[in-house]
Symmetry: C2
Subunit: 481 residues, 2 copies
């Protein structure tokens, strides 16, 4: 029989090339172990509510009412829902045509896009245009759409930080483009050096690649660093000189765990630089309801906002968004609630602040516990998580461990992470899934396990790691790097 | 300045090639007119709740409770929610890890996929495997993923019915494949002739195209026909002979308005044919919560089920689904509720039946009113809507109308539909957006306007159409075709 179109050998080669380690071998093995009854701590993906984070009450009340609008006519509704949630539900329903069950415009509800624009305007001190904001089913879908719009073939290159969140490598592979890596410097707290960037572009051009866009992830995933205003300026100026679109993945903008470098958006810096760059550089920024203190991953809500993209191109992006008709409407309401939160004096305000501060402060403590925990382990060094949701320790694998991995047919960090999983139930992602310098090994874990479980998890990690090192270190004199 | 990556001239050419008429020129003009204060009847897209269809109460109660699980602990919950909704909410929450705010597995919640498999098993009389069912954000996203998996380049052809739902032409253009049309025969009630199909494949092959898959839409969109078991058998056998994957778009399987040809799934027919075909032919079937009597378009829920797809290919499809992490979880619950509905004796059963029957019976009456209405108009002929949600009348445009369109720089049916929109506020989609035979013109409208408004809408259409014909017909002897 000739191979059929959905037999493996005849699939689209770009599909086969895709790698997505966050849900890769480690995750699949963890799922198997879970089925067999083992307790698994899923720290492979930034999924706070799966690890016990409670959703914020107020937005859930509002969206529940929007799902069941008949409750608004029930005389008992006030027994279960506060008045401000009822008012907000009415407000958001009034922005729809037919409630949550009707497709919205393919860009999202105009009224919610207006609220997003107001949020961006307040945040950046520069007004934003709702017509240049598209709501999406999570930020990833937006990133994919923009990359699909940019990439014309394998001659088109996208600058991506390494280590990177594998959404980028996966989407670039799927759309048949070329990933042009630029390395973040671990010893400089995962800083970005413009000279390295310049070299990456030169190398790519020498190989016939047209570099078209640059991705920044700020705060960093998996690396957790926050970009300074000075650094952002350099990056923007570099993109301007090199004629690159800047894609600003800013989904962790609410997740900041230090005070020296607060989040500052690429757009704010850009517009502050004045013309010509502020009127010419093309920027697309991404945000989500999945992160921050919301953590509403399962709802799949996000947006992208475009700066300096000509109307004809916006029309093309609109047209392609239309093929899948509309982003899901409930998540659009979550987005509205996120960008237009409760105000002092609102009935539910105090509870909302209590809940959101509680989550953020705990994340800040957990970031510290985890960094310190990793740094107390043999052959492990770890930068502090300044922002985002991840810790990305370097694991200095002894040569004999690397050899053992080779014998087992595994990449060394995969070998280590699999052993960690089998021994402790901690499900991480090997650093090779994000990219790392040759011969250097990491793992990524989220900082999301419940705070009270954190000491035990770190103790369990330390026990495994130190025994692993004991087993594989050459006791005849292996010296730490 | 050199063109930037997001300037129109340097965008991905496949993006520019995409056409999506359902949200095209007519829709954009209608949106403008609406902004200017004109009352628009949006019949361009199958979006029942936007036109006043009420959501089914029970599923909305369940999902509202899942969004606000803290209500389950409230002593007053019974005042607002029936006990069976509370029980179901607990059931679906127990299938999640962390409620609606947590990403599910990228294929969807295992427990919901199990319920889908049970539904398919009951429907077809052949058991279905949950591991071969992927939940998606609406059926369109699933169709796009499968086409992306199949299409390797412009040498790969996909057989698509003409007239077709433009999701197919749009996705094939976006992924850089070739659309191979096969024509449905209007005079045979939009029937499909296997000899025509064979010729389409031969022609494509003569042009160097590798035909890899065939799409059927059953019930038809925009054409409304239902395929008979005999016809499905022929199609399946044809695909088997020609080594084609069959993509079965069965999203309207609950929308049937006649009794002679009930819906029968391609899978049921295939598995009933026995080996070797039942074990070899590759089939992917699509379904949704957006249609039927549910009409939950804005929730974006769907699934696809794979038959005879090898595990290695399923793994590849799983991997690509993982890039966007998970379909939205609330819509997964809607899917569970749709495939596992209330049973006689449940507290909410009678109301559920009342609501769902009310919607379906009204749609059946509306299908009839619309067909009859169109057939009463000058130069309009229209097949009865046997299923789905659309009426697709042929508009026999007089030569002088065609000429006037040319002068206005418009495709003739676009010209007609724009005039209809300006005169009546009725927003339709020109037949050219779906494909039609050369020189033949149609429009597509949904049968979804409220039943009580239908007579007025049809009267308004008739008035416009007959005046249009009066204006453009050659009174010196233009004869009807």
């Amino acid at each position: 029989m000739a191979p059929r179109a959905l037999d493996y050998e005849s699939l689209n080669e770009n599909v086969k090339k895709v790698q997505y380690a966050v849900r890769g071998e480690l995750y699949l093995r963890a799922s198997e172990l879970q089925k067999e009854g083992k307790k698994i701590i899923f720290t492979n993906v930034g999924n706070p509510q799966a690890l016990g984070q409670k959703p914020l009450t107020f937005p859930r009340q509002v969206v529940a009412l929007c799902q069941a609008p008949f409750l608004l006519d029930d005389p008992n509704v006030g027994l279960l829902f506060p008045a401000d949630a009822i008012a907000r539900a009415k407000h958001y329903l009034s922005l729809t045509t037919g409630g949550l069950g009707a497709y919205s415009d393919s860009r999202g509800l105009p009224g919610v896009r207006k609220e997003v624009a107001e949020f961006i305007g307040r945040r950046d001190g520069h007004p934003s245009d709702p017509e240049l904001i598209f709501l999406t089913d999570g930020a990833s879908k937006g990133v994919m759409q923009i990359l699909n719009t940019i990439i014309r073939g394998e001659g088109d290159g996208i600058l991506v930080p390494v280590p990177q969140y594998p959404l980028y490598s996966a989407a670039i592979a799927l759309f048949g483009g070329s990933l042009v890596p630029y390395y973040l410097e671990e010893t400089a707290n995962w800083g970005l050096d413009i000279n390295d960037l310049r070299q990456s572009v030169s190398r790519a051009r020498a190989n016939g690649i047209t570099v078209r866009a640059m991705v920044i992830i700020n705060p960093g995933n998996p690396t957790g660093q926050c970009l300074s205003q000075a650094n952002l300026k350099e990056i923007l100026y570099f993109c301007y000189q090199e004629n690159l679109v800047l894609l600003g993945d800013e989904v962790y903008q609410q997740n900041i765990y230090q005070d020296e470098r607060p989040f500052i958006s690429a757009r704010k810096v850009l517009l502050g630089m004045g013309p010509p760059i502020s009127r010419e550089l093309q920027l697309v920024s991404f945000h989500t309801v999945s992160k921050g203190y919301w953590g509403e991953c399962g709802q799949r809500g996000g947006y992208f906002e475009m700066t300096n993209i000509p109307p004809k191109s916006v029309d093309e992006i609109y047209k392609v968004a239309s093929i899948s008709l509309s982003p899901n409407v409930p998540a659009q309401i979550f987005m509205g609630l996120m960008v237009n939160p409760l105000k002092p004096g609102d009935i539910s305000y105090d509870q909302f602040v209590l809940e959101s501060k509680g989550i953020l402060e705990s994340l800040r403590r957990r970031a510290r516990i985890m960094t310190d925990g990793f740094n107390s382990c043999r052959n492990v060094v770890c930068n502090f998580t300044e922002g985002a949701m991840y810790s990305f320790p370097q694991i200095r694998l002894p040569p004999r461990a690397i050899q053992a991995a080779k014998q087992a047919g595994k990449v060394p960090d995969v070998f280590y992470c699999l052993k960690l999983l089998e021994a402790t139930g901690i499900s991480t992602v090997p650093g090779s899934g994000f990219g790392q310098k040759e011969g250097v090994f990491h793992l990524r874990t989220t900082i999301l396990p419940a705070e009270e479980e954190m000491p035990e998890i770190m103790a369990s990690f330390k026990k495994f790691n130190d025994e692993f090192m004991e087993q594989y270190e050459d006791h005849r004199g292996y010296s730490r790097m």
